[in-house]
């Protein structure tokens, strides 16, 4: 089961430039929350603050609080421990090129010391099934390299890899923007199913996608969160004029 995410007074900087201003947000467990907004509005920065990937950039800084269910992301948890509970799928599929499909999916477990062969086999199969890739690759698990798949398959592989670690939350940073429409559709279906077990936060440029997969949507603009509400309300009757302008395509 997934956990809820509580964000309080989150501010983030790249060196001297501030990228996020005082974000407050609650994302419900086992639901999908979409983050939309024009380029450069901070939504990617925000999602990277959730699993502390923002810190890996030199001179980057974060202030504020991020709480997952019962644990605080910034106090008392190391980034490494956090990231085992909060998984991430990136914009461009990035399977490990020198590893087979099996090794890719198992990497999160194997490289953290988890060695039991039988359990690895089971976990890999479960994860690949959960990401709807099992049928397509089950005969080539050890023979094909992760990089030898199509774009859509690679992204599903990355999802399986993230799921194998059994996180409680899955962060997705524009997961479909590098994919063709059919692959995109498959992944959206996936998100629909994954909601039952995980909490999903998805950054997307595609408003229709947000409308399709997410119950809640947050609209970001210039580093601030302008509006956050049920997806239906955001898209049919937004409270803020700026949200309305964005939705109707007046900018961004």
């Amino acid at each position: 089961m997934g956990v809820g995410i509580q964000v309080k007074a989150l501010n983030a900087w790249y060196g001297k430039t501030q990228a996020l201003y005082d974000i407050n947000l609650h994302m419900q467990a086992n639901h999908a929350t979409a983050l939309i907004g024009p380029s450069g509005c901070g939504k990617s920065t925000f999602i990277r603050c959730l699993n502390r990937m923002h810190e890996t950039i030199p001179e980057a800084r974060v202030e504020g609080q991020v709480q997952f269910g019962d644990f605080d992301a910034y106090n008392g948890t190391s980034p490494t421990q956090l990231r085992r509970r909060v998984g991430m799928v990136f914009q461009k599929p990035n399977p490990f090129p020198t590893m087979s499909i099996y090794d890719n999916v198992a990497s999160g477990l194997k490289l953290n010391g988890f060695r039991n062969r039988k359990q690895l086999d089971d976990t890999v199969e479960t994860a690949l099934q959960a990401s709807a890739l099992w049928e397509e690759v089950k005969d080539d698990l050890h023979k094909k390299s992760g990089a030898g798949l199509s774009g859509g398959q690679q992204q599903r592989l990355c999802i399986a890899r993230a799921l194998a670690v059994q996180p409680e939350v899955l962060l997705m940073d524009e997961p479909c923007s590098a994919l063709d429409p059919i692959s995109t559709g498959k992944i959206e279906e996936l998100i629909f199913q994954l909601k039952e077990k995980y909490t999903i936060v998805i950054v997307t440029h595609n408003m229709q996608q947000a409308a399709r997969v997410a119950e809640f949507t947050g609209f970001f603009l210039l580093g601030k969160m302008v509006e956050f509400d049920k997806t239906e309300k955001i898209f049919t009757n937004p409270s803020d004029k700026r949200t309305e302008d964005y939705i109707t395509g007046r900018f961004g």
């Binding site: 509970r85 953290n112 988890f114 976990t123 479960t126 099934q129 059994q166 279906e189 199913q193």
Partner: protein
């Protein structure tokens, strides 16, 4: 939107307990992270350590000679181990002359090869030609020396030097008996050895010149050679000079091949036919036989001088090449 497909149940009973990630108990290995970083830092410090070691050893062990002779060491031309009198001028002279001679021969050849490969060569020939010039760089110095003794030197002795003496003997540079062994042989074999470096850097630097520079000149109606001269070579000048200086650095320190053909006589002579001696050669020949602390110290002082000169020359060359290729030293030039 289709209805959701049923999520297949996990196989093992252990994993059916939702939410218990198998990694929840695993440590985060923070001390391993720090330990690893320190270990890698230690390796990087080894590089500093090497530099420090070189400087320390050379300075402390040459101190004796430095105190005995002072700076005059490099201007005295009397190298006399028997009487413990040491003047290193013949070696300095030999090093400089052999290197300059090598550059004079190597520069036009290297630049010519580089220009041909980058600007004139048909595509199918580029790969093999580049490969062959790089192959020259892989040949060990002692093998160059071996070939030089038994093939180059006889050639110089019987054909080249008499011809030079006949035609250019009036300059004084080609006088005296044509032994074959001597400064000319050393300069020639050095030239062959540094051609790959100069050529390879020149090639890199030429290939970095943007295509629009070439097209711009061609569009004005230039011939291919004019395009090369105005649009390419002029732009790459700094880098080519850097490559030349790098070649110089290599020539200054080259030991084995030179030792085998230069004649190993600590004398200063005008003629290129005469035998000579370089700083690296005297080290190779006399170091292991040096009896006496002052003798050894004098040799090490020569080593220190060689070290400092090559450091300065190489640093200068790197800076010039970096200024053109913007800090991408790409391949390590052997």
């Amino acid at each position: 939107m289709n209805g959701p497909r049923p999520v297949l149940e996990p196989k093992s009973a252990r994993q059916s307990v939702a939410n218990s990630s198998p990694l929840l108990g695993a440590g985060s290995g923070e001390w391993m992270d720090t330990g690893f970083r320190l270990a890698m830092l230690a390796c990087a410090l080894a590089v500093l350590g090497i530099l420090g070691l070189i400087v320390y050893e050379l300075i402390t062990r040459s101190a004796l000679s430095w105190h005995a002779f002072g700076p005059k060491f490099f201007f005295g031309s009397d190298w006399n181990p028997v009487e413990d009198q040491y003047g290193a001028l013949p070696f300095v002279y030999g090093t400089i002359v052999s290197s300059i001679l090598a550059l004079l021969i190597a520069i036009p050849l290297s630049v010519g090869v580089a220009v041909f490969i980058t600007e004139m060569c048909p595509k199918w020939l580029k790969g093999p030609l580049s490969f062959f010039t790089e192959l020259l760089a892989a040949i060990p110095s002692v093998i160059y020396g071996l070939w030089a003794i038994f093939v180059l030197v006889p050639l110089l002795r019987t054909d080249v030097e008499p011809a030079l003496a006949k035609t250019l003997g009036w300059t004084g540079l080609f006088s005296g008996a044509p032994y074959g062994i001597g400064m000319l042989a050393a300069g020639t074999i050095l030239a062959i050895m540094i051609i790959p470096i100069i050529s390879s850097i020149t090639r890199e630097v030429l290939s970095v010149v943007p295509q629009n520079q070439r097209e711009g000149v061609l569009a004005l109606g230039a011939t291919r050679w004019e395009m090369i001269r105005i649009g390419v070579l002029r732009n790459a000048r700094a880098g080519i000079v850097g490559g030349i200086i790098l070649g110089l650095g290599r020539a200054l320190g080259e030991t084995m091949a030179v030792t085998m053909v230069i004649g190993n006589r600590p004398e200063i002579a005008k003629s290129l036919f005469a035998p000579g001696y370089t700083m690296a050669s005297v080290l190779a020949n006399e170091f292991s036989e040096a009896t006496g602390d002052l003798y050894l110290s004098a040799l090490i002082e020569i080593g220190l001088a060689l070290f400092l000169v090559t450091i300065v020359v190489n640093a200068l060359a790197r800076l010039m090449v970096w200024s053109v290729t913007r800090g991408q030293p790409a391949r390590s030039h052997v």
